[in-house]
Symmetry: C2
Subunit: 218 residues, 2 copies
């Protein structure tokens, strides 16, 4: 029976599900969601077409799964190492932002689906995806707030505006990077973007106070 993902599988036929998601991520990223038929996905995953419906309610469900699944990996990746620099929100924001670019660079398929197909897109209005994206965006809002509280960033800076600039810049940069065949180092550009952007975030008088950012570099 076509059982939605409501009840988890009880065996390692979990692998099939993963195969499907992997195939879908690749194909969606390649040609776009609309141009990818479930027949293609099934074939690429080596699974009969109707069986897809044993793992996903419908195509939209599969689409929503792609960013969800990767979001977890990304979130964990970026959530872990706040220990060492926990006291420096500005440093943390920078690390997370660049980590984000690195993740995109290392998972371009996912990046393509997420930044070119799903977000922004009306799909993001769908509850499940919206939730993930919001949580993601609020993380940045939070970090900016901390940086303001610590005195690094201007007190008048609107954290939501700052988030829009960070996310929007990342989205645009990634989109261009992907569309033009990944011609340059995305993380490098991301760093330049962040540094440019941060100039407008910083508290004026504080420029030198916190200018000891080059320790360890990367």
């Amino acid at each position: 029976m076509s059982a939605p993902t409501l009840k988890l599988k009880q065996k390692r036929s979990q692998e099939r599900r993963e195969k499907i998601v992997a195939a879908a991520t690749r194909l969606f990223g390649d040609r776009g969601i609309a141009q990818t038929s479930l027949t293609d996905v099934a074939q690429a995953a080596g699974i009969p077409l109707p069986s897809l419906y044993d793992y996903f309610k419908d195509k939209q469900d599969l689409v929503a799964t792609v960013p969800e699944e990767n979001y977890l990996a990304l979130y964990n990746l970026l959530a872990d190492p706040p220990e060492e620099g926990a006291a420096d929100p500005r440093q943390q924001l920078r690390a997370i932002y660049l980590g984000n670019f690195a993740y995109i660079r290392d998972n371009p398929d996912w990046g393509r689906v997420f930044f070119l197909e799903i977000w922004p897109s009306v799909a993001v209005a769908e509850g499940r995806i919206r939730k993930a994206v919001d949580r993601y965006a609020l993380r940045y809002v939070d970090l900016v707030r901390h940086a303001i509280a610590s005195g690094d960033y201007r007190r008048q800076l609107d954290p939501y505006l700052a988030m829009s600039l960070l996310m929007g810049g990342m989205c645009h940069l990634t989109a261009v990077w992907l569309l033009y065949g990944r011609p340059y180092d995305l993380v490098e550009k991301g760093r330049a973007l962040f540094d440019t952007l941060e100039v407008s975030f910083l508290a004026k008088g504080d420029v030198k106070t916190r200018a000891r950012r080059s320790r360890k570099s990367r």
Copy 2:
């Protein structure tokens, strides 16, 4: 016969075409392109389904037409009034950027299709759409270059990076605005975004030199 848009219509049944585009813009913006069937478009336009193919090669062709058609209007709107401030690239950039937001505010359907459905999206890779978008983006690159040349903006500022920030911010802001039901004045937010962003564009020593921006205000 199903004649692609190759040869223009020789009568005012041009109106039908416009009806279709209008209906498509509204429906695509409402529910998204994938969730809108040509049957819906045909019904909304009051035209039998197969007749759509007398005006558009296929669905993708209709999709591409939406941004194309509006792009012209926007482009003309923003290209006209450079006369008065032609000498001040910084002022011109600001005016065009805000004019852009105003156009989105006044044509939210188009904004939705363009910023949530088409750009960014792999659709943008398609020749026709790419061309329009590129021309659009390069306009900003150009304006930034002028502002650099005039000494308003930092000499080290990468015009492409600046464009990414401008476009990305606009895209994100618009997306949020649309998705959350247009809760605030988009142009106002756009202005705040621009002013925040511009801080990082400006030449350092020049802060006071060119600070006479308040004449006549907006």
